[in-house]
């Protein structure tokens, strides 16, 4: 099978794994698992208070999701730059050999 086709099939599976839960657990809130963990901690040890605070927190959910989108964009920017770069280098080498 061609590389492209094979990777498209893999991507389709990943997309399925990400979107199917939205249907399966329709009524859920999809909060982060760490929020649930802090609730579990208060249930296990009601007297525990965190002894250290974060230095800075994103002021709002919007700012936070902006930072996430930026993070994903910049990260994948570099990953795909590298993959494109190696693909180009590869085809030049091949051409030179011929």
């Amino acid at each position: 099978m061609k590389l492209f086709n094979k990777n498209m099939i893999i991507l389709a599976f990943v997309a399925l794994l990400a979107f199917v839960p939205l249907y399966i657990a329709r009524s859920a809130e999809f909060a982060g698992a760490d929020t649930q963990a802090s609730e579990a901690i208060s249930a296990l040890n009601a007297t525990y208070t965190p002894w250290f605070e974060s230095f800075w927190e994103p002021p709002s959910g919007e700012v936070e999701s902006f930072l996430f989108a930026l993070q994903a964009a910049v990260g994948s920017g570099f990953v795909f730059y590298y993959l494109g770069y190696t693909k180009g280098k590869n085809s030049i080498n091949k051409r030179d050999q011929v």
Partner: protein
Amino acid sequence: MFLRKSKHIGLLITYVMSIYIIFPDDAYAMHIMEGFLPFNWAALWWIVMIPFVIAGVRSIKKTVTLHPNLKMLLGMAGAFAFVMSALKIPSVTGSSSHPTGVGLGTILFGPTAMTVLSMIVLVFQALLLAHGGITTLGANTFSMGIVGPFVSYGVYKGLKKLGAPQWLSIFMAATLGNLMTYVTTSIQLGLAFPAAAGGVTAAILKFLGIFALTQIPLAISEGLLTVMVFNILSAYSQKELQVLTAFTGKRISSIKREVKA
């Protein structure tokens, strides 16, 4: 040609470093929140982390000195972990979590190199996004940067030895490494917060229910995506992979066949 290439590589390294400095990785689900580990536990995990970080810095230095042209691939492995941890994906349990992306770098550069990359990511995330924390950095680095990569490495080497196909070894290594990271987080929390009834075991099971179940589909996604990147690398970056073979003793021939198949 060569000069231009090294200039490009230099620019890219600067770019990757500035990514880490400006936009920290986030990790909603996995990291233990700032201040949420009692002081003694926090200190213990810090002490455990240090020797691995030292070994990792040495390992990266060695790789970069021996093979300067691998810097870009190292940056790519870091960037991969960076994207993966920005993607908070819904899971069947009705909560969200994200992959860690350390399996790719582990297979390429060895487990301790990823300890360092994970720690850098965790530091900036603790400082700029208020996820994870400086006090819990030791514990979080231990789960994401030490247990995860070492499990991946062990699984990869073990399966290769058993003669499993390349794609399966990569898939299982990335998937199980990711899953074990979250299992470790559950154990760390369970040890620090034993339940009134049932003690440490009951507490660990409770945290496992939160972290590990959510993580299963995401671990599979991470495995699949890692295989995808490897497919591309083995088609176009044969030279780099072969250089890596030199010091990790990996065989690449089966990847080649796999891609052509």
